[in-house]
């Protein structure tokens, strides 16, 4: 097959005028933003993003609803959730304690994928809508059964102001303050 001959056009050479004009343009943009900055930095501990319901934050167990099916522990991709055995009074025969299994969670491993919440047949697990909780050491991130039933204290909310981050058509990202309610 004979080689095909094609025409390739080069871009037009930029003239000196173009260069001067584009330099002035970029300087004008710089001055515009310098005079009227539209910052979108979130001053984090002072302002914090109010995340929507359904955000996959920390996972909490409602022990009453749990039927010990272990589906959560089996589906967990990072083996963060494990079943433990506890002795507790049997509701039918109060005098005889019985053995029951409950999940506990290791937040060193959890990747907040939410599979466990999705798979739970009785909705015994639920997410809270925050994520920024700080621990002093790794051992504290290993939750026992009691801790697993309490929502962790959200310290950021005590100091900071909640804002919602939205996309504005012209301004880009903007922060809208939200009231305490939502």
């Amino acid at each position: 097959m004979a080689p095909r001959i094609g025409l390739k056009s080069l871009e037009k050479r930029r003239t000196l005028i173009d260069g001067v004009r584009s330099n002035l343009h970029v300087l004008a943009i710089g001055v515009k933003y310098f005079v009227n900055p539209r910052r979108m930095t979130l001053v984090y501990p002072k302002e914090y993003p109010r995340l929507s319901e359904g955000y996959r934050g920390f996972i909490i167990l409602e022990k009453k609803k749990c039927i010990s099916c272990a589906a959560c522990a089996r589906i967990c991709p990072s083996a963060a959730m494990k079943m433990i055995r506890v002795m507790e009074p049997d509701p039918k025969h109060p005098e005889k304690p019985r053995m029951k299994q409950y999940p506990v969670i290791n937040y060193q491993r959890c990747i907040f994928c939410g599979y466990c919440v999705d798979v739970c047949p009785t909705e015994a697990l639920y997410h809270v809508n925050y994520h920024d909780v700080v621990y002093d050491n790794l051992a504290e991130m290993f939750w026992d059964l009691d801790t697993f039933q309490k929502e962790p204290e959200y310290k950021t909310a005590l100091e900071g102001r909640p804002v919602r981050i939205m996309v504005h058509e012209e301004l880009g990202l903007i922060k809208v303050p939200v009231g305490e309610g939502g």
């Binding site: 000196l16 310098f34 900055p37 910052r39 930095t41 001053v43 880009g172």
Partner: protein
């Protein structure tokens, strides 16, 4: 004479005063201010906040002080492979020589406070420009003595840039001399008292000199020798702690010294103030005016960081040789033309 009087006389001698107090102390303050402004301005333009948490009320100004303290107390690591004496001497000599132009520039028209005798004052612009060309050699020396590929490449880039901008800077400043017909900085400033600043009368030479200053102190968009993503820190790769701060400070001091020459030659020097008699009116206030103008130039250079990216070496050289050099020559021609029709 007591010891204190002798010390006061030495410090008060204009060349020493100008280098030590205006130059060294002034440029320390200005370096902190300029770096802070650079970061804040870039943050404003790029829709960020910039330094903040160190002192929210001052807009993070103390952040820079903390940086300086950190540099001062950082453990300086000197690699075994470096050429020790040039490695140590280059940043120090570079910084000292960067300030030396201030020993020859006048800050007033009152002859009692000139740093040079009136006969030498005739050539003060030439002397200042001659000294200005010295420090870059120490940057190359620093890179060479570091014995590190990144440093050597950085030094070579600096050498390329020097060859380009040195000519432009000198021709640009000589545009002012052509306009006024003298090398005497005092006469150049006084020529601008009459009609107008040379920056307006001779914008070509002014722009050439300004861009040459930006190039020579490797500010954006010409931060090529120290370009971080390509050559780590260029000639200063092996430096740490105080020596690194000296290198960086040297660049700011050179920028400040060149800005003072620019303020004198193109921005009207001590005008609108007319120096009178006495220490205050004759020396201190005029020098404050000159320094304020120079600081504005330094801050304007810092602002460029916010909007420009970094040029490639070939783009910078292209700009220098193809556009700025003819522009500087045109500036001289314009200056001669203006002088011939008696505009200045």
């Amino acid at each position: 004479m007591s010891l204190a009087e002798v010390a006061a006389a030495i410090i008060g001698w204009p060349p020493v005063w100008q280098v030590l107090v205006i130059g060294f102390l002034g440029s320390l303050v200005i370096a902190v201010l300029a770096v802070w402004f650079e970061r804040k301005a870039a943050a404003r333009v790029q829709r960020r906040l910039g330094p903040y948490w160190a002192s929210p009320r001052l807009g993070g100004l103390l952040h820079l002080i903390a940086d300086m303290v950190r540099y001062a107390f950082q453990y300086p690591i000197i690699p075994r492979t470096v050429d020790l004496i040039p490695f140590l001497a280059a940043p120090i000599a570079g910084m000292v020589i960067a300030l030396l132009p201030l020993a020859v520039v006048p800050f007033t028209s009152n002859p009692a406070y000139w740093p040079l005798p009136p006969s030498a004052m005739e050539y003060s612009l030439l002397i200042a420009l001659a000294i200005v060309t010295l420090p870059p050699i120490f940057i190359i020396a620093a890179g060479w003595a570091s014995n590190n590929p990144f440093a050597v490449i950085g030094g070579v880039r600096e050498a390329f840039i020097i060859v380009a901008y040195e000519l432009i800077a000198i021709l640009g400043f000589l545009g002012a001399a052509a306009s006024t017909g003298t090398f005497n900085l005092v006469a150049i400033v006084e020529a601008q008292g009459g009609i107008m600043w040379l920056a307006i009368l001779n914008p070509l030479a002014f722009l050439a000199a300004f861009i040459a200053i930006v190039m020579s102190t490797s500010a954006f968009p010409f931060e090529i020798p120290e370009s971080e993503p390509e050559v780590v820190a260029g000639p200063f790769t092996e430096y740490s702690g105080l020596l690194y701060a000296l290198n960086m400070g040297g660049a700011y001091m050179r920028r400040f010294a060149l800005s003072i020459i620019l303020a004198l030659t193109f921005l009207g020097g001590w005008y609108p103030l007319v120096p009178g008699e006495g220490l205050l009116m004759g020396y201190i206030l005029p020098s404050v005016v000159v320094v304020v103008k120079a600081v504005i130039v330094v801050l304007a250079i810092s602002f460029l960081r916010a909007v420009y990216g970094r040029y490639r070496l070939d783009q910078a050289l292209d700009l220098a040789w193809k556009i700025l050099l003819p522009m500087a020559l045109a500036g001289i021609a314009l200056g001669l033309f203006e002088a011939s029709i008696g505009l200045t």
